[in-house]
Amino acid sequence: MSQKTILIAGHEVESVLMSALIKHYSRQGYDVLFGECCEPQSIAKEIEDLISGNRSLSAFLYISPPPRQGKMLDDDADVINATMNDCLERGLWWIQAVSKKMIAQGTGGRIVTLAHIAALVPTERFSYGAASQLALMNLCRSAIQELAPYNIKINTIFRGFSHTHPLEHEFVEQLKVLHKDDGIPLLEYTSPEDIASTCYLLTDPQINSFNGAMITMDSGFYVTRKIRYLSEI
């Protein structure tokens, strides 16, 4: 019997989240491996090297980078250039290569992209860098029909703000002050354990019906937030 394996690639996340993911999947009997390549021509080879012997690539998690900060009127055109290459392009090549591997195995598989809630909400400072995450989700959704015959499913998680990420922590604390009279009860951080459990749910081979889903894990921030500038106009 082949050893089920989850491959994780993309960008670094907070160590507490990575620990939660490793712990969760290991407990379920998965080998947890990490891909590091960025170039399209190297990714397929890295996958072949990692998924060897009796291993079978059952699941893949692509981690989008934390949204870069930037403003439209600033000089930093790089905020769009870099994120499109860092997130969208790297995500495309990884997911394409993983899909080909799963097709070659003939086993199907589950793919999850871990994006950020800022990709859905026009949030001052964070949003431009997050456009790539929404783009990646849409790209994956367009592939669903093509990958369905191979029993490959792709879903997206939009995680909320991290307690341990310094910039996100500062941002949320400012939002809490701004929204203190707005009656929004759900401005909370998303726990790493919640994210790991949801990743597992979406990669569970026993569950077939999730495909093209986008799950917001933000305690209701996306739905309840009011538009508000961080600084006075």
Binding site: I80, M84, L92, T123, A131, L134, A135, R141, A143
Partner: protein, 257 residues
């Protein structure tokens, strides 16, 4: 006239059959002078300029490939030198790529992303700067697509770029509202323009029939329909609409958004 004495830049408007031409002419009919951006065909762009001048408006031809930031900078320098201001940007230039997900190639990816995302962003950024520097409460319209939220097979890259434009437009609207600049999107459905010539469904009569059957109202939108929507968003009546989109698709994406 709703746009008297205003100046508009419409990217990708040098094609007689294109959405850009429809929008440029509609804005001109309402009194706006137009910068007609084109890349490949100066003769056809000149014909568009000729139509605009026929409405009694000024027209300036500006050649620029919007995927090249230096050409975009030069385009804005030319517009400022010629007209002295910019009130309206319609970010219309774009490309469509049809490739199966498993066969998407780097050249195709770069081509679409450099024009549809990075070019759109750069044009909007420089327009916003020009408007802010002159205290103009201008209008930016980004032409996206229903595919921003309704991805389809073979259209992965295109759908990705349009989703990025959707998200970026909302961010722009949020950031620029404090300067009185509105940012909205037009989402055309199927329009009979050159961009759709390679569309696989249109290769046969049967395919075309099937495509039209996906439009509840039974006919494609026209470039004039797009022009009318652009006029509304640029007019005084549309001045409080920002961060939003108008679908002009005969109901094609009605169940998907």
């Amino acid at each position: 006239m709703k746009l008297q004495n205003q100046v508009a830049l419409v990217t990708g408007s040098g094609n007689l059959k294109g959405i850009g031409r429809g929008i440029a002419c509609a804005l001109a009919q309402e009194g706006a002078d137009i910068a007609v951006n084109y890349v490949v065909n100066p003769q056809e762009a000149e014909q568009v300029a000729h139509i605009i001048r026929g409405y009694g408006r000024r027209a300036l031809l500006v050649k620029a490939d919007i995927s090249d930031p230096l050409q975009v900078q030069q385009m804005y320098a030319d517009i400022e030198a010629h007209f002295g201001r910019l009130d309206i940007l319609v970010n219309n230039a774009g490309v469509c790529v049809w490739e199966p997900f498993l066969e998407i190639s780097k050249p195709a990816f770069d081509h679409a992303v450099n024009i549809n995302i990075k070019g759109t962003w750069e044009c909007a950024r420089l327009a916003a700067r020009l408007m802010v520097s002159k205290g103009i409460q201008g209008r930016i319209i980004n032409v996206a697509s229903g595919h921003a939220r309704r991805p389809m097979p073979l259209m992965g890259i295109y759908a990705a770029t349009k989703a990025a434009i959707d998200q970026m437009s909302q961010s722009m609207a949020f950031e620029l509202a404090r300067y009185g600049i509105t940012v909205n999107q037009l989402w055309p459905g199927f329009v009979e323009t050159n961009i759709n010539d390679p569309k696989p469904e249109l290769a046969t009569l049967e395919g075309r029939k099937k495509l039209l059957a996906t439009i509840p109202i039974g006919k494609p939108a026209t470039i004039e329909d797009l022009g009318a929507a652009a006029v509304y968003l640029c007019s005084q009546e549309g001045g409080v609409v920002t961060g939003d989109f108008i679908k002009i698709d005969g109901g094609q994406h009605i169940r998907c958004i």
